[in-house]
């Protein structure tokens, strides 16, 4: 295989089961060098499990996961990966600079410590002991630990949790700089704006399956492109929406809201079914809504 086209990360029909819980069900996915990929999904969808498999922290129950074409536990693969985990700790008695230098020593060609610390926005805190850092500063420290080995790929699990607005902005700038330098970045997030802002590819995971894999623009055009809402004077007939291509349907008081790709066809059908529509609004769905329409099961009134 050509080194330039072989994927950095590859899921080959990978499944992961914890006891009775199927966290991941037959996921196939390839991430190419230089991609910035956001993994989106509700809690428990399988995002952290995916990251754990890519890092070799967990082993797939079936199928395979490869990192740089190797098993992710291989030291050659790990030497090219930087990691920020959601739930992990570190000793408190070393200083920021000491800890970053120590982690750098695990990698073949680490960044200079000062540079890694500066990229994480912690230059002021370089000589402070880790135990004295605030939650947001600690999160930045983990970012410094992730990048200090000058890795080719970065795995960031919920990286901006606990960061304030300023820190998040600095973080976004750092990611963009890394992307410009040709690094591959895989991150999970709950902040959809963040995914939209940073990622060129969004993988939506739900119930252990990849339910969408597209650019932010495609994601929005492909699914639930329009948000429709209107008021009704009389209660809706029992199966007013039966067979119609809508999702995220909500009926509250006299207001009806839903997402659809075919607003004209849906509205026509509703007229034909005798629904009297007042105060109609049709607007383009934002990413959050697109996301909701993907992860929610089709609902029926």
């Amino acid at each position: 295989m050509n080194a330039h086209t072989s994927p950095v990360v590859e899921f080959l029909d990978a499944s992961k089961r914890y006891g009775q819980v199927e966290a991941l069900r037959g996921v196939s996915l390839a991430i190419q060098p230089g991609e910035i990929v956001a993994m989106l999904g509700p809690n428990g969808a399988g995002k952290t499990t995916s990251i754990s498999l890519m890092l070799g922290l967990r082993q797939p129950t079936a199928g395979q996961v490869r990192l740089f074409g190797l098993p992710p536990t291989d030291r050659r693969a790990r030497s090219r990966a930087g990691v920020m985990l959601q739930e992990s700790g570190t000793t408190g008695v070393l200083t920021v600079g000491e800890l970053v230098a120590l982690f750098g020593a695990y990698y073949p060609s680490p960044l200079p410590t000062d540079q890694a610390v500066a990229m994480a926005g912690l230059t002021d805190k370089a000589d402070a002991r880790v135990a004295t850092l605030s939650g947001g500063q600690r999160q930045r420290l983990y970012f410094a630990l992730a990048i200090c080995g000058n890795p080719d790929i970065l795995f960031l699990d919920e990286p901006t949790v606990g960061m304030d607005i300023e820190a998040r902005r600095a973080f976004v700038a750092s990611i963009q700089a890394l992307a410009a330098a040709g690094k591959t970045v895989v991150f999970t997030t709950h902040y959809l704006r963040e995914a939209e802002e940073l990622a060129r590819r969004i993988v939506v995971v739900d119930h252990g399956r990849v339910i969408a894999d597209a650019t932010p623009r495609e994601l929005m055009s492909k699914v639930a492109g329009k948000r429709v809402s209107f008021a009704v004077a009389r209660p809706l007939p029992a199966d007013a929406f039966g067979g119609l291509a809508v999702s995220a349907l909500e009926v509250s008081d006299s207001r009806v809201r839903f997402l659809t790709n075919e607003p004209e066809a849906v509205l026509r059908a509703l007229f034909e079914r005798g629904v009297e529509i007042q105060d109609l609004e049709v607007a383009g769905a934002d990413l959050e809504e697109a996301f909701l329409s993907l992860t929610r099961r089709p609902e029926r009134p």
Binding site: Q59, R75, S88, Y106
Partner: protein, 254 residues
Amino acid sequence: MAPLFRMLIAQTLGELRIRWRTPAFSLTNLALPVLFFTFFGLPFARDTYPNGVSVGAYLLASFAAYAVGSVMVYGFGIGVATERGMKVDLLMRATPLPPAIAILAKVLNALAFSLLSVVVLIIYGVIVGGVRQDLTVWIDVTVRLLAGSLPFVALGFAIGYSSGPHVAPALANLIFLPLSFASGLFMPIDRLPGFVQRIAPYLPTYHYGQLAWSAVGAPSEPLLTSLAWLAGYTALFMAVTIRAYRREQSLKFA
């Protein structure tokens, strides 16, 4: 890949810094043996047993054995349990640092602390207690104790992997202090209650003490007997460690 040797050096130095800056570990392990020797040993330091052995040297050897054992049992027991509690191991697992290098760094670090602890104790005994022995005797005591410390490394890991950060300190104390007392590390065995004297020859600390006592010329069992007992206890504690370690790995990393 980064050279393993470079990783080992960096990791060992990092561990040393961490331990040194944790007074609960560093201060306790350096000060306690000296303190115990002051209470239990200093009053008799210049005496001589009827067989010609210096009481001071005998007691210094005993407390040196206590010092090394406690660095191992407390260092690994509490250290590993604390790191597991803080999920330090999770992040380390995702780095290219091989677990064997991480463990080896911990062992080297513990050996360095043990050495320091023994040297401080012996210097104190020589200067304050006026205990006189050839330098070669002190070197012999130190080398034997460091080389024979493996069962206590294993005991420390067994505690560290089978208990949480809040239980480990209690467990380490409840196991290691009675072991040390009952084996004559705090006062000679013939001063202990009769039933303890009968139990002592089955304890790891008893056979560990023999290594140090024979170095200062006190009557002791054959070296091979001590080593056989220590090897047996190492195997036992390793088995407990491996069981607990595997259980944890299958929960965290399966």
